[in-house]
Symmetry: C2
């Protein structure tokens, strides 16, 4: 790969700020790499929208990152990864990595062979993307997918430890009782903020051995493998980080800082062209 | 007014489907009028976005309705009414009616002279629009405004009667204990769906005499007054209704039907030009 391309940034985008958990994991695994993060806060959330609209917004975000010369696009949004990943790689030579397959692989690595549960947005669950990714590796594995639409607003409200979050988690996880599920995938980048409450309820419903997996670390490992296999690691560091959002409401830095403390400062407000 | 204008439809828009509660009240008060409803479901919610972005989206919605020849635009969204009403009336001769002033008037009519509370989105609360509207009429009235960001997702999840909604309402209304508030404004078009839970908690916190006011009926009365004062009532009915949304996810008709049963069928998916 040309030296110029090796030096280019890794682009990461999400519907909002939750994808910063993925960006933080990439920065930790690959501190020399430059990172460019785009949060589409003017159109968040994607998880309750139709696939056609999610695909349209995602293409606009990829175009924004490509214009800034990134060498790789990481889709740090489960809903986009579920609906749009194939279409996003079209029409350009920038490779695209999503969160679903790395998350599915991490879940199967953590599981002791029992059924796997996926918690996600309505869009991710309806897409059945995790089932497909798991069944590519293990066609007979039972998968239980549960839509949890209130988890994103609860995470954004900052109610990580609130009794309401526990009560909502009990409602969503109740159907898992008796299923023998041994691994739960947090299939949305917001959910790691609620991991404490989700884990406590999962222990009530499924016992203390249940594994909770999020895809951030798995995605970072996938990015490292990709850079190594294509000879496109940056030669020296540390890499700079830039944070863009499409809407900057009050306290955007404070909310961003909940997901990755490095993002609490210096967020730039940009317009992404909507086509 | 020209006969052609009298026959034109009333345009109603909201960030999503909650404004259907306002459209339903207008249809009940003015059954001869044609109604054209636009729900910007591709960009909902507005309540957590910056004022600049809310104003931009609102202008796009007004342009869409003007192109369809409406004689009046009703902004059935508290966040837009709070941030953008002045700016929306500019640049065109279509009159614009919002929900804040009618809601404020209805609250003062219902109140026995005590402090008034407003429940709204973070955007509406930060704008202080209800305080300003109340103080225009009664400069000394105490107003308590409380941001309730989880009420919209709870209403959209359909958890009107759920214990979680009661618990969330207790959290939000707790600061009203001991204030002597005698009237609560539901300052968001989604909140009437949670009125049962909100009323029950309001009775716990403030006693059984507290009045709960939503602006839908007040807006319908304001629209009727405007049509009469400008001689622009439609001459004969019944008026047709058309429903447009900018994104049509699964079950959009079912969700719309929760707000107004007439809207559960025949919803059209349109693009609103975003500038």
């Amino acid at each position: 790969m040309l030296r110029e391309r090796r030096e280019a940034a890794i682009g990461v985008f999400d519907s909002g700020l939750g994808g910063l958990t993925v960006a933080a994991a990439i920065a930790e695994a690959l501190p020399d790499e430059e990172l460019l993060y785009l949060g589409d806060t003017a159109r968040v959330p994607y998880g309750t929208r139709s696939p056609a609209t999610v695909v349209r917004y995602a293409r606009n975000n990829v175009a924004f990152l490509r214009e800034r010369g990134v060498k790789l696009v990481v889709v740090a949004c489960n809903t986009v990864s579920a609906h749009a990943l194939g279409g996003l790689a079209d029409g350009g030579d920038t490779p695209v990595i999503g969160v679903i397959r790395p998350g599915a692989r991490a879940a199967l690595a953590a599981s002791r062979g029992g059924p796997v549960a996926v918690l996600g947005t309505p869009g991710t669950v309806r897409s059945r993307a995790y089932e497909y990714a798991i069944h590519e590796i293990d066609p007979d594995r039972a998968v239980h997918a549960i839509a949890c639409p209130l988890f994103v607003p609860l995470a954004e409200e900052g109610w990580s430890e609130h009794a309401v979050t526990t009560m909502v988690a009990r409602e969503y996880l109740a159907p898992l009782a008796g299923t023998g599920v041994d691994t739960i995938i947090l299939g949305c980048t917001h959910y790691p903020l609620l991991a404490g409450a989700i884990r406590a309820v999962a222990h009530e419903v499924l016992g203390p051995e249940v594994a909770i997996v999020d895809s951030a670390t798995a995605v970072a490992a996938e990015v490292a493998r990709f850079l190594d296999s294509t000879g496109s690691r940056r030669l020296a560091g540390p890499g700079a980080r830039r944070f863009y959002v499409t809407d900057a409401p009050d306290r955007v830095g404070e909310v961003a800082g909940r997901f990755w403390s490095a993002a609490s400062q210096g967020i730039e407000h940009v317009d992404v062209k909507v086509t």
